[in-house]
């Protein structure tokens, strides 16, 4: 009787373990896109001035602040001025902002190419604002929402992902920010120091793609 009990217990334990393992695998497969340390792909995307832009065009850059953002999302809008400020502060130090609109304009018409041109002009964007036409780039990066930042650092000719996440810790009020995540990360790269916080999360608008 004791033996049967033991066997039963083992079976229950084993099934539990298998389930836990299966769940973990599912979770891992859910997490698509880049992790810290991965090499980021270059791209050739159309800017609001009709010219095509690639990371390789920026020979002097030490890296890039790639920000997936858009016109319609209240979070993205709340951060527009802070994105301009990031470019103003860091482009001259070798880390320009590259903004990419990942949304399908068929799903969100406000995020059309014309809409982007209009917004870039209204706000006086000083950085490229590119359309992810065909939506091929954001899935490779693993962007899921706007705004979503990927800080890249040029290392041996490769663009290595060094920070993924939010711009800072308070989208609603720029005057009440305690942690400027992106600034801290770029400052660390500039000082050749390790980045203290390499990933953060914040609520954002999901990237708009056609649902199957």
């Amino acid at each position: 009787m004791k033996k049967i009990g033991l066997i039963l217990c083992s079976i229950i334990l084993l099934t539990g373990l298998v389930q836990v393992k299966a769940q973990k695998m599912e979770n891992n497969s859910e997490h698509k896109g880049y992790k810290i340390g991965d090499e980021a792909t270059d791209f050739k995307l159309k800017n609001v001035d009709q010219k095509m832009v690639s990371l390789s065009d920026f020979g002097d850059a030490k890296g890039f602040i790639v920000i997936f953002t858009c016109n319609h999302c209240p979070f993205a809008k709340a951060y527009e001025d802070r994105i301009i400020a990031l470019n103003n502060k860091y482009a001259s130090q070798g880390y320009p902002v590259i903004a990419i609109n990942p949304n399908d304009p068929k799903v969100e018409p406000i995020d059309s190419y014309e809409g982007m041109q209009k917004r870039a002009q209204e706000k006086g964007f000083t950085f490229p604002y590119l359309m992810d036409e065909g939506q091929t780039i954001y899935p490779q990066y693993g962007a899921t929402k706007t705004p979503h930042v990927f800080l890249l650092n040029k290392e041996n000719g490769k663009n290595i992902v060094r920070y993924i996440g939010a711009i800072d810790d308070n989208y609603a009020n720029p005057n009440d920010v305690s942690h400027k995540y992106v600034e801290a990360a770029v400052d660390a790269l500039l000082a050749n120091e390790p980045i203290a916080q390499t990933t953060t999360v914040a609520i954002g608008c999901s990237i708009k793609a056609q649902m199957n």
Partner: protein
């Protein structure tokens, strides 16, 4: 005399609000994450379907009518509870959130999570794989997370998960 008027007025107000209890008042409870966590940790054998949304979030707004249909079908079940967690800013409760609920006749428990500055703490506390995109829906029972879905859910998908656990 003035006091008498106040008392009478209060009684009238109380009465009307008592009469109105059958009608939903589209209340929104503003909470911090700790308050929400306390609700999710309840040991009451209920299946909690918790949907994170915002009035400005189009895919959220698109999936809500079907969520409401599913809620209607299950709300009499004492082992079922649907909760909407709005991520609108707190100052929009009266100007955006409640009018939205009233317009769409949504009688469901609605909380507004007013904890902006700690997103980087509570988003991973809900699910370590949540990037922060909404809509997102999480299923709990007795403090245990059963499923987490960071995406828009079709009615059939929502029902499938509920039927799995109910």
């Amino acid at each position: 005399m003035r006091y008498l008027v106040i008392i009478i007025m209060s009684i009238i107000t109380l009465n009307t609000s008592a009469q109105n209890t059958e009608k939903p008042d589209y209340a929104v409870t503003v909470v911090r994450f700790a308050d929400l966590e306390a609700i999710l940790q309840k040991n009451d054998d209920k299946l909690y379907v918790v949907n994170f949304w915002a009035t400005w979030c189009k895919p959220c707004v698109m999936e809500l009518p079907e969520f409401m249909e599913v809620n209607k079908a299950h709300q009499s079940n004492p082992r079922f509870k649907m909760i909407l967690v709005s991520l609108d800013v707190a100052k929009d409760v009266e100007t955006a959130v409640r009018p939205f609920l009233a317009k769409n006749k949504m009688s469901v428990d609605v909380y507004l999570l007013n904890d902006n500055k700690r997103m980087n703490e509570w988003i991973p506390a809900i699910d370590k794989n949540w990037s922060g995109a909404i809509p997102a829906t999480v299923f709990y029972r007795n403090g245990k997370k059963l499923e987490f879905i960071e995406n828009r859910m079709k009615k059939s998908e929502l029902e499938q998960v509920i039927n799995k656990y109910l």
